[in-house]
C-alpha cells in the first residue's frame, strides 16, 4: 500500500484485484440445447481473465486514467506527434448509431451517408495535398509510407523499370527506413546541410536510374522547411524517380504550401496528428495517401467513388496493389477528421499559421538558454540541444525532460532527430494559449537555472509522479511482458 498521505493511490493489477467467482457481465443465455464440441477443439482450461465486479472495474480504469497524462491534462509538446486539442464534439459524432453501429459489409445503398462522408473527406484531403486521388485505407502514417512505397513498386513495374533504392535524409523518422526495408527496397541516406536543408551535392551524387524515389518530411524533423525543395524535386523527376511526402509535419503548411505543388507524387497524411483524431495512448490513427493521376490506378482497393448522386465502394481496380488493411479504412477516424476540417472551413490555413507562430514564439524565448543547432525561424516545431547544459553541468536532455514533469508539463520528444545531440524536439501545436506557452518558457528557463544551481533536482526528477525513474535495462533483460499468476516473479525490492 502507498504511504498514507500520498496523492497516488495504489494501482494493483486487474489480476490482483480478481477474486474467483466475482463477475460483472451477464451475457444473454438463450434457452437452447448446446451441441457437443469435439474434444481437441473444446477448451480444456479456461483463460484466467480477471474476475471483478463492475464497481471495481470502473475504479480500476479510473485509477489508471488518473496515472495517465494527456492533452486534456496539460501541455504536451511532444515533437513530431502534434498533440493538439481533440474537440469533444468528435466523440459525439463518431458515436452516432448511424456510424458506430454500421456494419462494414452493409450494402452500399444502405451506407450512403458514410460513403458520402468518405468521398468528401477524400476531396478535402486532395485539395490540401494538391494531388487528385486519395485512398483512405492505410491505418496510420507508417502504413501510409509502406503503401506509398508499394505504389512506387507497382508504378515502376507497370512501366517495366527496375529500381531498387529509396533515398531518405539522415534526419528521417525511424519509420521511413523501416518501411523501406518492409517494402523490399534498399536504403540510401543523404546528408543535411548547415541550414538544415537536404545537402544537394550529396543528393546529386546518389540519385540515378536505380533510384525509385525519395522519402522526405517537409518541414523536416528539424522543423525547417527545405528551402531547396524545388531543386530536390527536379533532381528526382529528371532521374525518372518519384517523391514521397511523409505528412507527419503537414500541420505546418496546410493552406500555405501543398506537397503536390512542391513536387511530391505521393503523400501520406496522419489524421491523428494534423486532423485531430485523439492519440488514444498510442492509437488509433489514420494514414490516407494521395497521389498524382499517373499513380492513381495502383491505389489500394476499394476506393470510394461517386456515380451521379450515389456513392459506392469500387473494388474493380485491376492494377491496384491490393488491399493494405481491412475494409475501406478506419472510418471512425474519418468522421473526426471530416468534422475537424468542416469546423475550420477555407480558413484552415489559420491552423498552420498559429502552429508556426506558437513554435517560433517558444523558440525566440528559449534560444538564449538552450543551444539552437540551426539558427533560423522554425515552422510548427523546433529542435533545441541540451548539450550546453551537459557540458556545463552534467545534466542531459533526459534530465531536463524528467524535470519538466515536476512542472506539470509533458516532456518534448528527446534524442530525435539523431543529427542533433541531446535533442529536445518541441511542438506546441496551434491550440495552446499564450499562457501555456509562457508556463513552458518559465519552466524551461527555471530548469536551465536549476541545472547550474542544483543539478540534483534534475538528476533525481521526477518528484511528483506515481513512480520515480525506472530501471529500463532490467525491463528489457528479464522481459516480464505479461502477468504470470502464481509464477509471477517478485520484482519489488529484488535483484
Amino acid at each position: 500500500m502507498t504511504a498514507p498521505g500520498s496523492a497516488w493511490p495504489d494501482a494493483p493489477l486487474l489480476f490482483e484485484r480478481s477474486r474467483p467467482g466475482r463477475r460483472a457481465g451477464r451475457p444473454p443465455r438463450p434457452d437452447l440445447p448446446l451441441p457437443d464440441l469435439p474434444d481437441g477443439l473444446r477448451r480444456a482450461r479456461p483463460p484466467r481473465l480477471p474476475e471483478l465486479s463492475e464497481p471495481e472495474l470502473v475504479r480500476h480504469f479510473t485509477t489508471l486514467a488518473d496515472r495517465t497524462f494527456g492533452v486534456d491534462t496539460g501541455f504536451y509538446p511532444l515533437g513530431s506527434c502534434t498533440m493538439k486539442h481533440n474537440p469533444r464534439v468528435h466523440e459525439r459524432l463518431a458515436g452516432l448509431p448511424g456510424f458506430r453501429d454500421l456494419h462494414p459489409h452493409q450494402e452500399d445503398e444502405a451506407a450512403q451517408g458514410a460513403l458520402e462522408l468518405m468521398f468528401r473527406l477524400q476531396e478535402m484531403l486532395a485539395e490540401v495535398a494538391g494531388l487528385p486521388a486519395v485512398t483512405l485505407q492505410p491505418a496510420a502514417g507508417s502504413q501510409g509510407e509502406l503503401t506509398g512505397l508499394m505504389l512506387m513498386r507497382a508504378y515502376f513495374a507497370d512501366r517495366g523499370e527496375e529500381r531498387d533504392t529509396i533515398i531518405t535524409p539522415d534526419t528521417a523518422h525511424g519509420t521511413n527506413p523501416a518501411s523501406v526495408t518492409m517494402a523490399g527496397y534498399k536504403l540510401e541516406k543523404v546528408a543535411t546541410d548547415a541550414r538544415g536543408n537536404l545537402d544537394l551535392d550529396d543528393l546529386r551524387g546518389k540519385v540515378n536510374e536505380r533510384t525509385a524515389g525519395l522519402m522526405l518530411t517537409n518541414p523536416s524533423t528539424l522543423g525547417l522547411f527545405d528551402e531547396g525543395i524545388e531543386e530536390v524535386a527536379r533532381i528526382f523527376h529528371e532521374a525518372g524517380a518519384l517523391l514521397y511526402y511523409d505528412g507527419a509535419n503537414l500541420n505546418a503548411v496546410v493552406g500555405i504550401s501543398r506537397p503536390g505543388d512542391m513536387g511530391f507524387d505521393i503523400v501520406h497524411y496522419n489524421l491523428h496528428k494534423t486532423f485531430s483524431q485523439p492519440h488514444g495512448g498510442g492509437g488509433p490513427g489514420g494514414g490516407p495517401v494521395a497521389v498524382r493521376e499517373t499513380i492513381e490506378p495502383f491505389l489500394p482497393s476499394p476506393t470510394v467513388v461517386r456515380e451521379g448522386v450515389a456513392y459506392r465502394l469500387d473494388h474493380d481496380r485491376p492494377k491496384s496493389i491490393g488491399r493494405v488493411r481491412g475494409f475501406a479504412g478506419p472510418f471512425g477516424v474519418f468522421v473526426r477528421s471530416y468534422a475537424f476540417m468542416r469546423a475550420y472551413g477555407p480558413e484552415l490555413k489559420e491552423m498552420s499559421e498559429v502552429a508556426v507562430l506558437n513554435a517560433n514564439y517558444l523558440l525566440a524565448r528559449l534560444k538564449d538558454v538552450y543551444d539552437l543547432p540551426y539558427d533560423r525561424l522554425c515552422t510548427h516545431e523546433f529542435v533545441l540541444s541540451a548539450r550546453n547544459l551537459k557540458r556545463g553541468h552534467g545534466v542531459t536532455a533526459l534530465d531536463v525532460a524528467k524535470r519538466l514533469m515536476d512542472y506539470g508539463i509533458h516532456p518534448p520528444t528527446i534524442y530525435f532527430p539523431l543529427v542533433v545531440p541531446e535533442a529536445l524536439m518541441i511542438e506546441p501545436t496551434e491550440t495552446e494559449p499564450k499562457e501555456r506557452l509562457d508556463d513552458f518558457v518559465d519552466a524551461m528557463r527555471a530548469i536551465a537555472e536549476e541545472a547550474a544551481t542544483s543539478p540534483e533536482l534534475l538528476l533525481e526528477a521526477p518528484h511528483g509522479r506515481p513512480v520515480r525513474r525506472l530501471d529500463e535495462v532490467r525491463a528489457a533483460k528479464q522481459a516480464v511482458v505479461r502477468y504470470l499468476f502464481e509464477e509471477h516473479p517478485a520484482l519489488v525490492g529484488a535483484d
Partner: protein
Amino acid sequence: MSCGYLSLTDADREEMLAAIGVSSVDELFEQVPPGVRLDRALDLPPALGEADLVRHVEELASRNVHTGAELSFLGAGIYDHYVPSVADVVLSRGEFLTAYTPYQPEMSQGVLQAIFEYQTVICELTGMDVANASGYDGCTVAADACFVVKHAVPGRSKIVLAETLSPQVRQVVKTYAPGFGLEVVEVPHDGGTTDPERIAEAAADAAAVLFQQPNFLGCLEPAPELAHAAADAGALAIAHVDPMTLGVLEAPGEYGCSIALGEGQAAGNWPSYGGPHYGFLAAKSDFVRRMPGRIVGETVDLDGRRAFVLTLQTREQHIRREKATSNITTNQTLLALAGLATLSWLGPDGLREVGEACLALTHYAREQVALEPAFEALSFKEVAFRTPIPAREVVRRARERGVHPGYALGRDYEGMDDVLLVALTEKRTVEDVDRLAEVLAEVCS
C-alpha cells in the same frame, strides 16, 4: 481566431510577433520558396459552428442503415457482440483519449499498466507467452506475422494460407508478401474445412501455415491436425482466431501453434463501418525479440516500486530503423483497452457463456432455417446456407422486410453465389432467429 479550437487573442498575437522579432505571420513563412506557396485560399466547404456541424453530420449518419435499424445477421469478420458500458469508461476518459504512446513512463503509468494487462489477457486467451500492444487490425497482424516468420525460419520463403482464412486477410498478406520476398500459396477447402493432408503437402517447403478457427465459412477446422501438419513439415503454425470464441474453443498455444493473431473488434469495439479496431498478435517466447510493435514490460523504479515501461525497444523502428521488426508506430491502443475492459467485464465465465450462446444459436438457426446448410462441418457463430436464388438477391429481398440475413459468400468465393453466411452473436434471440427463418422462407420461395 475564426475557430474555437484556437486560443490566441489579437493581443497575444501582437506580443508574440514582437517577441519573435517579425512584423507578421507571413514573415514566418519566408522560408517557403515563393514557387511552392499556395497563393489562394483552400477550396474547402464553408466553416460550420458546432451546432451546425452536428446537424450536418447527423444528417449523414441518418442515411446509413445500422445494426439497430434492421435485424442484422451480418458478420463475416465484424460482429455485433455487446459492447459493455464499462468500455465507455476507457473510451470517454480524456486522459486515455488524449495521451500518446507512453514514451515517458513516469507520465503514463496508467496506460502502460493497462497495456500490460491487455497483453496478459491476450496471452491467456491464445495460450501464448507474449503479445504486443496491438496491430492495426486482423489483416495487418497477419502480414506482421509473415515478417516475423521470414526471419524466424531462414531458408524458407513460402507462406501457406488456407483458403478458408478470411479473404481480406489473405489479400493483405498477398499485398505485403512481395516486399518481404515471400511467396504465397493457398490451399483450397474441402467441403468447408481444410484437409490436414493438403496442408502437410503444401507446408513441406513453407515457412508458415496460416489458418482460421472458426474459419471464414463458419466451420470449425480440425485445428490441432492442421497445426501439427504444419509443424511436422517444419513450418510454423499460425492461427487466426476470434477472441469471443476462446472461452469455448481451445487456445492455439495448446495445440501446437507458434503464433496466434486475429481481429479484436468482436471483443469490445463497435462495428464502426470497419474501424478503428485492433489486431492482436501473440507468440511463444521464442519469438519475443522478433515481435513487431510496442511491448510493455514490468520493472521497478529507483525506490523499488513496481512500474511499467515500453521494453525490448531495440526491435523497433525508432531505434533499429531499417533493421526493425516492423515500421509500426501509431497502433490501436485505445481500442485494445476497450477490449481489455470488455473481456474483464465478461471474465472467464462470461466469455464462456458468450461462446455457448453463439454456438447454441448457430445450431438453432441451422435447424430452423429451411435452407440446406452449405457445409456439413460443425458451425460456430456463423452458418452458411445454400440459397435457391443468388444470395445477393436474398439479401436484397430480406432487407426490404427489415432483416439483413447475412453475407453473400459469392463476393469472395467463386462458385458460392448461392451461399449465404449468417452470423449469430449473443445479441440475437431465439425470436430473432425465428424471424430470420420466416423471412428467408418468404424470399426464397
